[in-house]
Structure formats: structure tokens, C-alpha cells
Symmetry: C2
Subunit: 332 residues, 2 copies
């Protein structure tokens, strides 16, 4: 059935089934003028928002509807993780072409519901409107654990730079999809899974915050180089990234080779990995071994007048540059 056959109010009623409500958090959920939530137990709350629009941020050829819902919420939860916070509730705005199938809207909501349940987030309302392009815009509230939060502006000269998980997988995953390579089961291809269903590093952020004196924290959304430069600019410091130490998954390496992609380039510029990039005092490095989460030291913070560099094993240095995506220029 097409959306225009069901109508706006029919659709709203249909989508109520996907509400996710934690009764400890939600006093009034979907259905009134605004949701009523219990205030954070700490004295600080977080608020963030992100949008995915067809043709600008995704192509349906390369992303199924379930994954679109998942990913739209994941990028918001990653922002909460990048503050060292805990997500609580979300409102969802959908932009829907009237000829879209109702079942496809169901799938978007199944993706939203699935990640909301996995990360203990309540879905408490939203809005929908027709649009030529499919899109989804989400706002998430969260809270900080105790009175602490971690900004991107706290890096200090001498800090160690580290990153969770591995890099470059999502960009390689997209290129696998674009290349039309046939695989028996796309889900079994690691980079594709990383592109389709990013995992916000909420648990890792909590562990890091509890065990280390985190000085700065940002998520790798636009690409390691871009996000590292943002962190350095906000903290007024320079950096030295050791390219040889950047972590990658063997399947990312395999597929990059198969498709003729420079692995180093996608690790530095690829983006959408939604890993955590952070800095902490050098004397806490020994703690890393006991963290029980995947973390790799990839460089150090240097004085701002020394600049931002990617360095190689042979001592070669190249100025760190942001060659990430710019929405508006890319479309000109």
C-alpha cells in the first residue's frame, strides 16, 4: 500500500506500535503535544540532532530501509557517546514521498526500534511530512554520568591520542556496494555491515571515562583527519598521527586490495566509522591493557605552533589535511 492511500493519521496510528518506552524515563510518550520525561538524575542533560536526506547522505540503492532507521539513530547516539553521556529519549522526524510503500516505512521504524531497544533509548514522538526526497531527522536527549562530560576542546600537549575499534571499514563497505560486487550474503561482509549498521560506542565511552582521565573526546564521523583537526582546533594544539599504527580489520584490508582502494586514504579520510577518538595523559597508557575494549594508540598531542601531521615509519611527514565531504560544495 502507498502512503497516500493510508493517509497521515492512518500512518501515525500504524507507527505507534514501534514506540519504545522505558517507564522509568517516560511519563507521557507518543500522542500528546509534547512528551513528558523524567529529568536526568545528574544535574546535566545532553541534546543533539542529526539528519539523513536521500541523495545528500544516502542512496536507497545502497541502503535498505531497516538500516536507514538504524543508522539515523546510530549517528545521534554516537554524538551522545562522544560527550561521555547516556542517551535517554528521541523524537523522530520523517520526510516521506507520498508514493512510498507503507511497508517500507514500517521497516524504517523496525530499524529505529531495534537500535532503540539495544541501547535502552525511548522513542517518544515525532512529526512527519511529505517531501520529494526521503529523509529522517532525529533529536536525542541524554544525560551525563554524574557531573562530568568530555569536550573536544580539552586536549593537552603531551596527551596520547587513541581510537576505539578499527577505521576505514564503512567507506570500503560503501565502495563494495557501489561496485556491484556480488556476494553470497552481504551481511557477512564486514565492511558492508559497518557501513549499514554502525554501532555507537556508548559502552566504550563509559569504560574510557571511568578508567582514564579523558582530556578530549570526539566521534569519527567525517573521517579521522577531519575529526582530528576539529579536536586540535578546539583544543588549540597540534598532533602527530602515526599512519602505521592506524587500526584496520583484515576484511577491510582484503576488500580495499580487491577494489584497488588505498587503505591508508580511507582510514584517514573515509568517515562514518563512528569510532571514538580521544586523548588522555601519557602516564595512563599502561591502563589500556586492562580495559577489555578495543583501543589503539595512534599518536600524540604536540604544541599548536608545530602543526598537525601524519607521520610514517620511515620518518616521512605529511601535513594532515581534511579531504572529507562538504555537502554544499559537493553539490555545486
Amino acid at each position: 500500500m502507498k502512503l497516500h492511500e493510508l493517509g497521515e493519521f492512518g500512518l501515525i496510528n500504524r507507527l505507534r506500535r514501534y514506540a519504545v518506552v522505558d517507564p522509568d524515563q517516560v511519563v507521557v510518550g507518543v500522542g500528546d503535544d509534547a512528551a513528558v520525561l523524567r529529568a536526568p538524575s545528574s544535574k546535566l542533560m545532553l541534546l543533539t540532532t542529526d539528519t539523513l536526506i536521500e541523495h545528500a547522505d544516502f542512496e536507497l540503492d545502497f541502503c535498505d530501509f531497516f538500516s536507514l532507521g538504524w543508522k539515523a539513530l546510530a549517528i545521534n547516539l554516537s554524538d551522545v557517546a562522544a560527550m561521555g553521556g547516556i542517551p535517554r529519549a528521541a523524537v523522530i522526524n520523517l520526510f516521506l514521498p507520498p508514493t512510498l510503500e507503507v511497508e517500507d516505512v514500517d521497516k524504517i521504524y523496525q530499524g529505529l526500534q531495534s537500535i532503540a531497544e539495544e541501547y535502552h533509548l525511548s522513542l517518544v514522538g515525532g512529526d512527519m511530512t511529505f517531501s520529494q526526497q526521503l529523509g529522517i531527522s532525529i533529536a536525542v536527549t541524554g544525560e551525563t554520568c554524574s557531573e562530568r562530560y568530555v569536550l573536544r576542546s580539552g586536549a593537552c600537549v603531551g596527551d596520547v591520542i587513541a581510537v576505539t575499534g578499527d577505521l576505514g571499514a564503512a567507506a570500503v563497505g560503501l565502495r563494495i556496494l557501489q561496485s556491484g560486487v556480488e556476494t553470497t550474503e552481504r551481511w557477512e561482509v564486514y565492511p558492508v555491515a559497518r557501513f549499514w549498521r554502525p554501532q555507537p560506542r556508548l559502552h566504550q565511552a563509559q569504560v574510557l571515562q571511568q578508567k582514564l582521565s579523558l582530556h578530549s573526546l570526539i566521534d569519527v564521523s567525517d573521517g579521522l583527519a577531519s575529526d582530528m583537526l576539529k579536536l586540535c582546533q578546539a583544543s588549540n594544539v597540534g598532533c602527530q598521527l602515526e599512519v602505521g599504527k592506524l587500526p584496520f580489520h583484515p576484511h577491510t584490508d582484503y576488500w580495499a586490495g580487491k577494489l584497488g582502494i588505498a587503505l591508508e586514504e580511507v582510514m584517514l579520510q573515509g568517515g562514518e566509522d563512528f569510532e571514538l577518538l580521544f586523548t588522555f595523559p601519557a602516564d595512563e597508557q599502561k591502563i589500556l591493557a586492562d580495559l577489555n575494549i578495543s583501543v589503539t594508540v595512534i599518536g600524540k598531542i604536540i604544541p599548536p605552533q608545530q602543526g598537525c601531521w601524519q607521520v610514517y615509519k620511515d620518518g616521512k611527514k605529511i601535513s594532515l589535511e581534511n579531504r572529507g565531504y562538504d555537502h554544499f560544495r559537493a553539490q555545486s
Copy 2:
């Protein structure tokens, strides 16, 4: 200058000047992964979201850029008013055609800034993406005064139904703009001002909540009939609206006559007035005279099995029907 000439990051830097920050509320505003806000002083917080998309919700022919920013935020603040709450912070998502003039984006933000300052709201972040259609999607957090909030589901048989301000103005205003009637200064035309720059009834909601035992509260966004029916459905009651008592502004009447519009029809079905529709115990009617805000009693709540009616002075009754706008059906 066109947006694609400035670029995404250039635009973000340019728009920072429009941030509105109440230091009592905002710990970290624009520029990190998420905003950090002080938690509500009451134990309850509100969260709501609304969207305006070109062609679906507005046409630029009939709405200037400043008013678009104003209106997008006003409809969210009206939702907070309709819960009896106080707005605190907003995040803004913009959907921008890359060929849009940068100065027009400035005007949207000037509208946002203007209403944010007027209603003591902080603008703490957002996201932007390119899109074929211009659009704006906003999420607002708020708090309740004390532990109280007012739902649409609390109406009781015997309650008086009342509405703030006057009805039908916004719909007549849009028709004035569509008709191409030349006026010396459009801003001097009352219905046009009501359409272009709606005023959320936040102050009125506070007064009503303090002085009356409000049983139910909703804002008139889709039209009196539509919103009254939603209130009745949520409360499981019927209603009797006295058409002869519906409040209108003399300029709305004048322009409706001039354009051949049935005033009664736009008051019942027109929408976008963003007045407050509420019910309270009949024995509190005498309090209304001392409220010092514009309020009109327009009917009463009756048992659900008696239905929902619009009644006339001569005793004629017509079943109350929602002939408001349905996004998806309207576009089929």
C-alpha cells in the same frame, strides 16, 4: 552569494552569530558533539518536534525567510504551551537547496533568533544538509512548572470548553496572500500577520494553569474541529461547540467578506491560529473575568455516547467533522 560557494563549514561558522544562549541554562552550546544543558528545576522535562517543508507546509511566494524561521520555532513553542510548560532549548535542522542565497539563510536565522529571544529560549545546535526542497525541523526541550503538566486526555463531562484569542485569522491571512490582493503594507493586515508570525500562547498557558483547574489542553494547529475531536477522542468524551460564540477579529471578518470566504468554515477548519483550546470545571467560569488574558467560552463537554456537535443559535446541530489538511492524501 550562493550556499555552494560558501560551503558547509563556512555556513556553520557564519550562523554561530545567531546562537542564543541563556547562561543559566546552557553549559555547552553550539560546537561540540552535543549541547550540555542544566537539567530542569522541576523533576519533569518536555520534548517536542515539528517540521516545515517547502511545498508541503509552505510556499515561499507567501512567506518571507524571516517569518519561516519564526514560524518553525513558534509551532514547537506552541506545543510546549499546550502542555502547560516552559520552553528551554532548541536544536535546528535545516534542509537547504545549494543554490539558495546565503543572505536568505541569515534571514531564517534572524527569525529564529528573534522569537528565541522573545520567549527566552536557547538555540544550542543543529544540523544542516542539502535538499531539493527548503525545510526546517526543530526539536525543543522544556520543563513543566512544578510537577504539573496538562494533557489533552483529561476533559470531564460537564467541563466548560474555552479558547484563547480569536480563530480563523491565519487561514484568511493565507488566502489574502494567495489572492494577490495588493495592500499598502502587508504587515498592517491583521490576518496576514497572524499567518506569518504566530505567537505561541506560553504566557496565557501559565496564567490559565495557575488560576484554573485545567482538565485538558491542546493547541489549535490543525483547526478547531480537528483539535477538538482529538481532545474528545483522547478524553473519551463528547462535545457541543456553540458556533455563534466562536471568537473572531473584526479584520478577519472584513477580509473573509471581501474574499467571499465563509468565516464560520475557517474558524472551524482553518488551522494555524496556534491558540489554546482547553476545558475546566464549570464552577470556575466566574474566574475568567479576572484573568487579564483574552479567553472565550465556546461550549461544553458532554458524555461520549452523545457525540460531538457544532450547534447554532436556532438550535440546529451538525456533527463536528474534521475537514483539516492531510499531508499524504492531499498529495496523492
